[in-house]
Symmetry: C2
Subunit: 406 residues, 2 copies
């Protein structure tokens, strides 16, 4: 008789956004006249920009003619896209990354979930707390996280690194040595960043103890501060200890279009074996490339028009972030993030539990956000609002918060 992977059964049951959806649905059914403003999920709302649309159309036309039709894509992605990525995201920032170190994929979620495959089974991971759930869940599914403690909301085998207002959301180096360290900056959910010097500390640490950093840079395009690195490879030595995961979801509105990439430098080795070779093997065996028309559209993001138009979209969302930030500060809240990221992380008032504040916002102000505790125990007492709504609704939400009523 076959048996299942029992690690799946250890996963805590309710997925954060399902619970939110259920609560909102129930409230909405009971109060059909209320106009609910959604600032919970990190999904974009602006349509794809004209440069991307135009390239999608022309790529579709190519697929309609025998002489320009594209079948199976190269395993690592098309050269034209990998070259555009290297030029714009790496060479332009002084990072020594080459096109054959870029692996084009269908998105950052797939890559951040699948990357564990190439590490040993007893790999010990360290994560910031609060954290994007995929890093921990994907390790739990492959049996790398020990047992789950329902009360503490923690896995016995995971090293948690609290990020709270007390340490300015800068994680401290762990006492126990991890094998793999997940860092996401600008951070989801806190919206905070590390300076280049602060990130260099992590690179130096990883090199010293022989750990690999999985660096999730999905929100890189939202950085406005001067001293915040856009890539971990802006830190010295990172190419020997870091894998970087990037996405087109937030910088170009590709959440429903699906495109991302992962950088595995050839210098990143374990006992003479390059992780690049392992990831290439995984990519070649269990993936068959992102669609040609989507890769073509991804390259259009780097054209002069594409950069200008996606830049305008980011500015639109970041104006929302400013409105939220200033609105919340004006209403007397402690607020973090929202300067280099589309996420605003706030303290709940007077030690209110995150889920209680969720209920208050939903029921009294008809605003949906995300309880901080949903991202990990150190998120308790915090709350996340996202800047991906319309400018009009964002202003309206802040008016409700200021007035204390819907």
């Amino acid at each position: 008789m076959f048996r299942i992977n029992e690690n799946y059964l250890k996963l805590p049951g309710s997925y954060l956004f399902s619970t939110i959806g259920k609560k909102v649905g129930e409230y909405s059914s009971a109060n059909p006249d209320k106009e609910i403003i959604r600032m919970g999920i990190g999904d974009v709302t602006l349509p794809l920009c004209p440069a991307v649309i135009e390239r999608l159309h022309s790529a579709v036309d190519e697929m309609s003619r025998q002489e320009t039709f594209m079948g199976y894509a190269p395993d690592l992605g098309y050269e034209f896209l990998r070259n555009a990525i290297v030029e714009n995201d790496y060479k332009a920032r002084g990072c020594d990354i080459s096109a054959d170190e870029i692996f084009v994929s269908d998105g950052a979620k797939s890559d951040s979930g699948n990357i564990v495959d190439i590490f040993a089974e007893d790999t010990k991971i360290a994560v910031t707390d609060p954290v994007y759930p995929v890093y921990v869940d994907s390790n739990a599914m492959s049996g790398r996280t020990g047992a789950y403690d329902e009360a503490a909301e923690k896995w016995s085998g995971v090293i948690y690194m609290p990020c709270t207002s007390e340490n300015g959301f800068v994680p401290e180096l762990p006492r126990e040595t991890p094998d793999v360290i997940y860092l996401c900056f600008p951070n989801n959910p806190t919206g905070t960043t590390l300076t280049t010097e602060q990130l260099q500390v992590w690179v130096d640490y990883a090199l010293k103890v022989g750990a690999v950093i999985i660096y999730d840079g999905a929100y890189e395009a939202y950085i406005t501060s001067e001293n915040v690195p856009h890539s971990i490879y802006q830190c010295q030595g990172a190419e020997a200890c870091a894998i970087e995961i990037r996405s087109f979801s937030k910088n170009a509105g590709f959440t429903g279009t699906r495109l991302g990439f992962t950088v595995v430098p050839k210098a990143l080795k374990c006992g003479g074996v390059s992780l690049h070779a392992l990831w290439a093997r995984r990519h070649g065996t269990k993936f068959n490339g992102a669609p040609y028309i989507i890769q073509a559209a991804g390259a259009a993001v780097y054209s002069p028009e594409g950069r200008k138009q996606t830049g305008e979209q980011i500015a639109y969302y970041m104006n929302n972030a400013k409105v939220i930030r200033e609105g919340l500060i004006g209403a007397g809240y402690d607020v973090y993030g929202g300067v280099d990221a589309p996420y605003i992380w706030m303290k709940t008032p007077e030690g209110m539990k995150s889920w209680d504040f969720f209920d208050y916002l939903l029921e009294e102000l008809n605003i949906v956000g995300t309880p901080g505790s949903g991202f990990g125990p150190s998120g308790e007492g915090y709350f996340r609002l996202t800047a991906f709504g319309s400018a009009e609704n964002t202003v309206k939400a802040m008016e409700r918060i200021k007035a204390g009523k819907a």
Copy 2:
């Protein structure tokens, strides 16, 4: 110090199609005047049909307007596509499969590589021999296949089920009981099929011993024979023992457009836990949906125009298959497949090794095919030709084979 997943190091080094590519490249460089006909790789060559192109364009237009823009897709795929799949691929054939048992994905290769994740670590797999390499390699990567024996070209922990002319390419039930059985029919590489009665034997066996069948039906659209099942769910009881993987690559030319789906019936359980719940969790954690525009295009394949146009493409390729089949028979070869599949499987002449025949075809006739031994030890002495080329080149290749020269 972090460590790698050492199972990757056990994988035999050279990937079949890389070796072929290298050999062809070298011959081509040394003989630039020779016109080489490629019948090796299973990639389609006809452009996407008008119904699909039209829907791609209109979906791109939807992505350009705020009111029709699509962000993150539902985890399991859009209802409109899942409903079209259920109606056309299952209900129309009398299979009791519902829309929420369909998981839309970026392709059959990803699904057939990732499906092992939901099974126990010591899962014992059985595969036909010869076989599509992904089934075995993905299990090898997760340590489920034991040690690799270079001489025998076999893994110690895998149950191989030879499919040769001796048994009419119908695998025999294994003596040792497997947990998971991979079956692909119409078969890649042999192009042969099982009748409904022959497949029922496997379903009955799986139900009896408590095994799961992973049924790869990527070539279903090429079936022309009456008594060959299009889905394993045409067999009684299959919904309690089988997962079916399907693809848009070969029936609609989506090799570079990327779309597939996997059916995990809710009745498929292990000790009360449904595999559906586990796969849903994996899908939700490590994947973020296929692009909206691609899912929209997938649904267009099921429209009356889409069915007619893709049917014409399949007929075009199957005419090539007929030309190859008859050409080879006329030239005195033993030939299999090519009736319900775009693959023709032939015996090499006079016990010639598969790779020697590859060299002969390349150097003497300037035709590229795939050595049967590349698909497993029982493929030695066989050779695969594919019907995905142009009609003109297919005819020309057969003329060369008949003449015994280029």
